[in-house]
Symmetry: C2
Subunit: 465 residues, 2 copies
């Protein structure tokens, strides 16, 4: 039987005998969730992750990437298949209770049994780079197409996918509509000028167009029609920033909510959202974190922080607190990552009511606004060690006040009439926030570099593939 397969029978010849015609091959995740009866013939497809051979028995771990769990294959006898780490294989044998430690079941392959078979679907070269379990992240980053097979990288993707599902459920249960604001835009939301411009835009679109830095302005137009709107969408910033917390192309979860005239419900909602997704993850931690090689204590302490009590401070109170700890800032100074870490030393903290000068044109005046210390109704959510995860605000919904703010920011009012008209036609107090999606995934995974949570990261000098 081995000879027949090696001689050129394709793997679907095996499969068609076992599975209904025209169905997809079962995944390892499906096989482990709904395992066959002990003693029955069973077939697994995946990559050889590790091999331990001894004289009369071999042990092979097979993974197909759908779960962090693996299927253990026991190869009996002397004529064991010659397998290499990294090869894609299909092995058919008997499903058994395992005698080994750390696993409940295993696939027994006996070359003398005519019902057992294996095939090497794809071989690997001798220098196949993913040999060891705990390959370093910096080495993996040099392998743009193969790194996804590393357990830790794959676990980031599964975690990210799981969190997106949870967010979908969360927003659905709060009457939000998920929408797709444009990527290509003629409006620079933040006014910071760090946009990527489309080369042929002036001829193609008959106006200068660039990639969006935030979909907020468009999301406002939609939320002022549908009451509540959210999106999870790519955003782009042409910052020359090469840190582990920035990407030139990143995904942002943005939400916009009508009938909001106070920061408090917005803070409550943000906290509820972050805690919701985190608690769903904690319930399924074995599924999403087994098999990664990140520090378990770091992961669990981050989860505890998220699920614990959150503080709320105004920017002015934050300056006072920093002063008591020996850091002297004056009103109008930015908080850098070190300051943020001091404030969030013992848990997440919302810092609210930042100075007007530090924030974009669209934010509404704060309740504590005064001419000496002008502030806006906004917040940053700071996490222990990590710094900012979410930023949000109430938006100025009064037409004339908004125009004043835009004028003092020397913006082109004609270009923005599509936006300001919203304040003339049935305006509504509203607000919202943006959350860096890779930052959220990174924080919850216990990792420290957002570049590894996205399959093909883009940053200055980095556009592989």
């Amino acid at each position: 039987m081995i000879r027949a397969i090696s001689a050129g029978l394709k793997p679907y010849v095996i499969r068609r005998r076992l599975y209904s015609k025209g169905a997809l091959s079962p995944t390892v995740k499906e096989q482990l969730l709904d395992p066959p009866q002990i003693g029955s013939i069973f077939e697994v497809r995946g990559f050889v992750k590790s091999i331990r051979n001894s004289k009369n028995v071999g042990f092979v771990d097979i993974s197909d990437g759908t779960t962090s769990k693996i299927i253990n294959v026991v190869l009996l006898g002397k004529n064991q298949p010659k397998l290499q780490v990294g090869e894609s294989v299909c092995i058919k044998g008997e499903w058994n209770i395992s005698k080994g430690k750390g696993q409940e079941t295993e696939l027994k392959y006996d070359p003398t049994d005519p019902n057992h078979a294996y095939e090497i679907i794809g071989t690997v070269p001798d220098d196949y780079p993913l040999q060891k379990k705990a390959t370093s992240m910096s080495f993996l980053r040099t392998l743009p197409s193969l790194k996804h097979r590393a357990s830790t990288i794959a676990s980031f993707y599964r975690l990210r996918s799981f969190l997106e599902s949870q967010m979908m459920d969360f927003f659905n249960s709060h009457s939000f509509t998920k929408v797709s604001p444009p990527i290509i835009t003629s409006s620079d939301c933040e006014g910071a000028g760090e946009t990527f411009e489309i080369k042929q835009s002036e001829e193609f679109f008959e106006k200068k167009a660039c990639l969006t830095v935030s979909t907020q302005l468009h999301l406002e137009a939609i939320a002022l029609a549908l009451n509540r709107a959210w999106t999870l969408t790519p955003c782009f910033r042409a910052e020359e920033s090469k840190t582990s917390r920035h990407l030139s192309e990143f995904w942002m979860l943005e939400a916009e909510i009508s009938y909001l005239d106070d920061l408090e419900p917005l803070l409550n909602f943000t906290e509820e959202m972050v805690k919701y997704a985190t608690s769903r993850l904690v319930e399924r931690k074995e599924e999403y974190l087994e098999g990664t090689y990140l520090d378990r204590e770091t992961i669990e302490s981050r989860w505890r922080h998220i699920l614990g009590d959150w503080r709320r401070l105004t920017y002015v109170e934050a300056l006072d607190e920093l002063r008591r700890k020996g850091i002297n800032l004056t009103f109008g100074d930015s908080l850098n990552l070190d300051h943020e870490r001091v404030l969030a030393e013992n848990g997440p903290v919302f810092v609210t009511d930042y100075p007007t000068s530090m924030k974009p044109f669209y934010m509404r005046k704060s309740l504590t606004f005064n001419e000496d210390k002008p502030t806006v109704a906004c917040f940053d959510l700071l996490l222990p060690q990590f710094g900012e995860l979410v930023g949000g605000s109430l938006r100025e919904h009064g037409h004339d006040t908004l125009l004043e703010s835009m004028e003092s920011n020397t913006m082109n009012l004609d270009d923005m009439e599509w936006y300001t008209i919203l304040r003339k036609c049935g305006t509504i107090p509203h607000g919202g926030f943006g959350m860096g999606w890779e930052r959220f995934v990174t924080y919850l995974s216990g990792h420290d570099n957002i570049r590894d949570t996205v399959p093909f990261p883009r940053a200055p000098g980095l556009c592989k593939a």
Copy 2:
């Protein structure tokens, strides 16, 4: 009480008395799903959609966009509030069984009752454009920020959001991981040259970069690690196409599946996916289609087509069928929209095994391949009247065969080494498909122009806002 509010009390003063401190205001959707007791005091927030006034009573329809349903407000007595269509309002009154037709409940507002109150949150100018219920689509397209408030447009967005949720459930239940392939790429997937280039890419990324036309190649790299991967992501094509079926920026649902060596399971899976989302929609049709002004018969006939039997034809069989109907094409000719409509006259049809010359480099040879009529293992899904919805194929997984194909397409092999290396390292037979997301939403909604299903459409000469 009216005077007190008109004199400047803000709406949250009302709300805070009725709802827990710091919670979001309830939406109309939530209020209708979980209505208050008959006779209790109740408050609605939304836009005035229509007004009918008579001497002693007025009828106002209020919508907040979270549902196609409205709340009917009955204004009693002579001193009725002066409201305008389009204004955002907050009205507090008594929740009652309705005496009118077509509605079960209503909000009764009595100006003499001290517990009743209203506030106009945002006024509208006299020339507010959204006056009539059935405003034409072409007129709405001239209103980039206000059109979202039109019932039909809002229903597209809610439908789109619902379908995305269903897809998430569908792919989750089939062991897929949702991933985020890059938008900015240095690899042109289709090789058609219709990419948008990023102006400052050569200095910023140190190589020429453009916006992706399809994420397939990157998705293959991920699927060859995680077994199954899908994405719903923006794609960009710089085609000078101004039809109702094309956008320069559109969203594409792409899926890639390992261990596929035959088209049949891929066709089955595609059919199952489309039917799954459609049948979930049919179950909730009142929620998603009430309030739109599209032709109900068109909508329901499209749903019936989707849920009925689908045919499967090879390209060569399709030519034969066209010939019998008087359309003479020869092997290698493209099928245009008219041809597609003839083939899909009575229901959806998969056309498979197109000529190699018509398809991109990465497709695997067909089982029916011969040197005279070379074909690839691919399919297009054609819908009645509508034409192509999905296109997919098996991908060439053999290293040398892939390189031959790339060479005969005069591609730069060095640039694509990140992709071809996948075939050297544990390659796996695989395949997948791409579905135009706006096309799917448009078809199921009974509409005929994909531009209206995305809030800010981009097309040649069109980049408003």
